[in-house]
């Protein structure tokens, strides 16, 4: 076994830095083979492209001549006699003159074209195609066809109907020859265009271009290698979105970390609890770097705190609300069970009717937070911790008493500061839906201070919310 190991090590160590220059002629062979391969691959492609282009050109030309022409103001048989034959297409064509001649003759002399003329045109046309020597078999075919058509006077019904629609004002007498003539011109025109397009195709240096491309491709391979190395070194710098806007909503649970009642010290011993309420608003964040965002916004926060085991006496003067501005029309008293029993003791059982009730305090604030968000985990679901403070502006303050199903407005608390604050702590979970959208969930704890005027109560409010929203990135 150790013998095996020795053999392995001998070779491993010997070949660790083994490097031999490649033979000098090797590259030439490689280059040759690569060029061969390229040629092999390019030629059929080029043929295909030109073949497809030729077929498309023929289809378009045929279509435009047979189907589009009747609708357009086609020129060569215009009854007004205007010579609007496409000069460019036929410019270098000797038959142009003949065509024009015969065309004007056609219209002037009430469209009598003798067959000699047509023969003449055909022959010249043949010459032309020979002279132009584009070796375009398609064009030649069309030419031959055209000659046959003109000589044999056999036109397809499509062509006949075509020329009929083209020449509505033409005298019927000349139709056959005119039709023939029109068809011939159409075919000549298409031939000229095909030749043109063929020339264009020929002039298009696709093959040379692709050769060049291959050369460049080979040379740029070094650059590719360099680029790959560079890409490893430089991390992807994407245009990061820096602004984040989040409409959010949350249920809020309001609670008391201190003791007693916010309404009056009398109710300190009474049990109380919060109803689930709602907070909603808009959050705006700015990304300072990959880890840290600074955020602000505006939220409406509503709280609801109920004090139980209170009794509504239908007579005023028994209750004291140190912290409440009681509304003027309120003619009852709200007392605790202890107070009730002492009142009943002194006045006699049942003298004053009482109902077990619930004190309901509603508070509303406009909250303006100022927070920092720090990204702890950057995965599919990002985890952020958020800390900061909020300014709270009081905008709703009322106290009700509910007896059975009836709720009576009692007044509003007078011990609540217009400005108060909270310290905030939250854990944010972000899930990227798309490049522009994040789904966000944020359990939040906010501890309020300076909500109540000092020395009026030991009530120490806090609230917990689970904010959720969709973040829009900009």
């Amino acid at each position: 076994m150790s013998d095996d190991h020795n053999i392995d090590r001998l070779f491993q160590e010997s070949f660790k830095d083994f490097e031999v220059d490649a033979p000098k002629g090797a590259w030439n062979n490689i280059e040759k083979k690569l060029n061969q391969n390229n040629k092999k691959r390019i030629v059929p492609l080029w043929q295909k492209v030109s073949g497809v282009a030729a077929v498309i050109a023929i289809i378009i030309l045929a279509g435009s001549q047979w189907f589009i022409t009747p609708k357009g103001n086609n020129s060569f048989v215009d009854s007004s006699g205007e010579e609007t034959i496409n000069q460019q297409n036929l410019q270098n064509n000797p038959i142009n003159y003949n065509l024009r001649n015969s065309n004007s003759q056609n219209t002037d002399s009430n469209a009598v074209v003798n067959s000699d003329d047509l023969e003449n045109i055909s022959i010249q046309e043949e010459k032309v195609s020979g002279n132009s020597a584009q070796n375009n078999s398609t064009a030649l075919n069309i030419t031959t066809n055209a000659n046959q058509y003109s000589k044999n006077n056999k036109l397809s019904s499509g062509l006949i109907s075509n020329s009929n629609t083209v020449n509505p004002s033409k005298p019927v007498a000349s139709t056959t020859k005119t039709k023939n003539y029109t068809a011939l011109i159409s075919i000549l025109k298409s031939k000229a265009q095909i030749q043109n397009s063929h020339l264009n195709l020929k002039a298009d240096p696709i093959s040379t271009k692709s050769n060049k491309f291959n050369q460049q491709n080979l040379k740029s391979l070094v650059k590719v290698a360099e680029q790959i190395n560079n890409e490893k070194l430089i991390p992807n710098k994407q245009q990061e979105k820096t602004w984040f806007v989040k409409p959010q909503i949350s249920p809020v649970f309001y609670g008391n970390l201190g003791s007693g009642s916010a309404v009056d010290q009398n109710f300190n011993q009474n049990p109380g609890q919060s109803e689930v309420n709602v907070s909603y608003g808009l959050n705006l964040a700015y990304k300072l770097n990959n880890k840290i965002k600074i955020r602000t916004g505006v939220n409406q926060v509503n709280f609801n705190y109920n004090t139980n085991d209170v009794f509504l006496l239908s007579s005023s003067g028994f209750s004291s609300f140190n912290n409440v501005d009681v509304v003027s029309g309120f003619e009852s008293s709200v007392v605790t069970s202890d107070q009730l029993s002492s009142i009943q003791e002194s006045l006699g059982q049942g003298r004053i009717p009482s109902d077990e009730s619930q004190l309901q305090q509603q508070l509303g604030f406009i909250e303006i937070p100022m927070e920092l968000e720090y990204k702890l985990i950057d995965k599919t679901i990002d985890v952020n911790i958020i800390g900061g403070a909020s300014t709270l502006l009081l905008n709703d303050n009322s106290l009700d008493i509910q007896t059975g199903n009836t709720t009576t407005f009692l007044g509003e608390a007078n011990n609540i500061n217009a400005f108060s604050f909270s310290t905030n702590f939250a854990i944010g979970l972000d899930y990227d839906i798309s490049e522009r959208l994040i789904l966000n969930l944020e359990p939040t704890f906010k501890y309020q201070f300076n909500t109540f005027q000092s020395a009026t109560t030991d009530f120490q409010p806090f609230f917990i919310g689970v904010y959720s929203g969709v973040v829009f990135k900009f």
């Binding site: 013998d3 095996d4 053999i7 392995d8 001998l10 070779f11 491993q12 160590e13 010997s14 070949f15 083994f18 490097e19 031999v20 220059d21 490649a22 033979p23 090797a26 590259w27 062979n29 490689i30 083979k33 690569l34 391969n37 491709n217 080979l218 040379k219 391979l221 070094v222 590719v224 290698a225 790959i228 190395n229 890409e231």
Partner: protein, 165 residues
């Protein structure tokens, strides 16, 4: 350019996987053609050099598969002079010759396993053989090499001119 940068590395690799210089040269050519033709398929995953080395080895493996039945003999076995003797007193050139003289499949397995650090499982997949075959081929390859090295060392010890071990 790419060829200049990597040809010596890939040629060295080809030398190890081929039975002689000429075959290594062919292998290098085929590998480079393959590299140029498939450059678009490089997904920028992993190192570019590693990718080219894999192509070079695969080219050699393909050659090995095609040559199972019949192989041409090349006469020229010229390797550029290498005078650096290691502590065993055997030149790199000799060691390379030892490898090249191994039967094809032993050479492939030995190279893949010992010099390029592939596992028997990987070798089995690359060469389309079983893991057991890969292991036994390696053992036989090693034995042939060991015998050769011992022979060389013995002859060297008998000759007074050679450096001592």
């Amino acid at each position: 350019m790419l060829y200049e940068l990597y040809s010596s590395k890939l040629f060295s690799l080809s030398l190890k996987y081929s039975k002689n210089y000429a075959e290594a040269q062919d292998n290098l050519q085929d590998a480079f053609i393959s590299i140029y033709e498939n450059i678009n398929q490089f997904k920028h995953r992993g190192s570019f050099e590693g990718w080219m080395k894999r192509i070079t080895i695969n080219t050699a493996l393909k050659r090995y598969r095609n040559q199972k039945v019949f192989s041409l003999n090349y006469e020229d076995n010229i390797i550029q002079p290498e005078d650096d003797f290691d502590n065993h007193g055997i030149s790199l050139q000799t060691l390379l010759k030892c490898i090249q003289e191994l039967p094809n499949r032993y050479r492939m397995v030995f190279n893949l396993y010992v010099l390029d650090g592939h596992s028997h499982k990987e070798i089995a997949e690359m060469m389309e053989i079983s893991e057991g075959t890969s292991k036994s081929n390696l053992a036989r390859g090693r034995k042939i090499l060991r015998d050769k090295i011992n022979d060389i060392l013995e002859t060297k010890n008998k000759t007074p001119n050679v450096k001592s071990l």
